[in-house]
Amino acid sequence: MSIDVNSRARFNLKDANILLLERGIMDMEILVHILVGIGARNLTKCEKIEEAKTQVGKVNFDLAIVNAVLGPEDGYDFVSSVRRDAPEPNKFMPIIVVSGHTRAPHVVKARDCGAHFIVAKPLTPIILIERIFWVAHAGRSFVTTDKYVGPNRRFRFDGPPTGEVGRRYDDLKEDLGAAIEPNMSQDQIDALMLPRKVNL
């Protein structure tokens, strides 16, 4: 989703409770300045995972923005713990992870932590607005399995990746059977779309 920086469309972040988990003072300042600039007011700032976990247990958040690397600690682990252990509604809250660079051994962890979006730094106001809109409007369901808890990554219903056997019991086989009826004519298709009077 791409938004024009000159768009006159309005949005309101004034009443949103936002949790920020960032490590350095300057990184936190950058995040705060962007969020305040785009209209956010209720920001809860945490520098440590334990601090953030305590807040998640006490306050209902509408959005969390988490740095992937928090010194020796790991933002992905925090996201996983929220998805597994946090009380509702925080368990399902939109979470955006920001990352300067993702180390090769962490790519799978990043994919599977349960975040809605992973945004690469440098962070810009328009990118953050786009991602916030996206997580708020995408209407993704949440999925809980033994190995993954988080937003449904198959939100386009494309089925399992091509050439791979599905991991879920309800995944359909890739091979389609032969058609058992002739194709519909254009008139038949048009008839399906036509508005009709009904008696209510």
Binding site: A9, I30, I38, D62, R103, K121, H137, S141, D146, Y169
Partner: protein
Amino acid sequence: MSAAVFHFPEYKLTKLLRKPGGKTVADAVAEAQKGLGLLAGDCLAEVDKIIGELDPACAALGASPTREQLLALYEIAVRLVGLSSVAGLVELDRVAYSLCDLVDRMIVSERAALEPIMVHVGAINLLRQRREQLSEEALGQIAAGLRKVRDKYAGGDTPPAKDIGT
């Protein structure tokens, strides 16, 4: 094969974003940029501080860098990513990212070479101290050269590569 349980949560954020009032996208972006502009000086000072940590970390590497030394170097370099752009040093941001990529590949492959690291750190110092004197063409050449260095290393055909000490 695991059974998946689906939930359909309603996000309060969706409703909040639609509440009357708020800001237009154009105004929000302009105000946020203005705020970031106020931070540029502090970010520049922080970039200098981080570069000040980077130089001794590189000097300590020696001919056969250990995994711990490389991890320490990575932790310093990754702090430059994002911060440098707000300080107005966009190219430095990219070089810092490239250095992170390079060091990460060295850690993963357990083979390290000092030279490509020094080239990157040299470029970071150059972009910090003499950015205004560099033409767009020179910046392009620096970026292309570093990409070549990084990709050559990633391809595993760097002759002077040394095993990481343990």
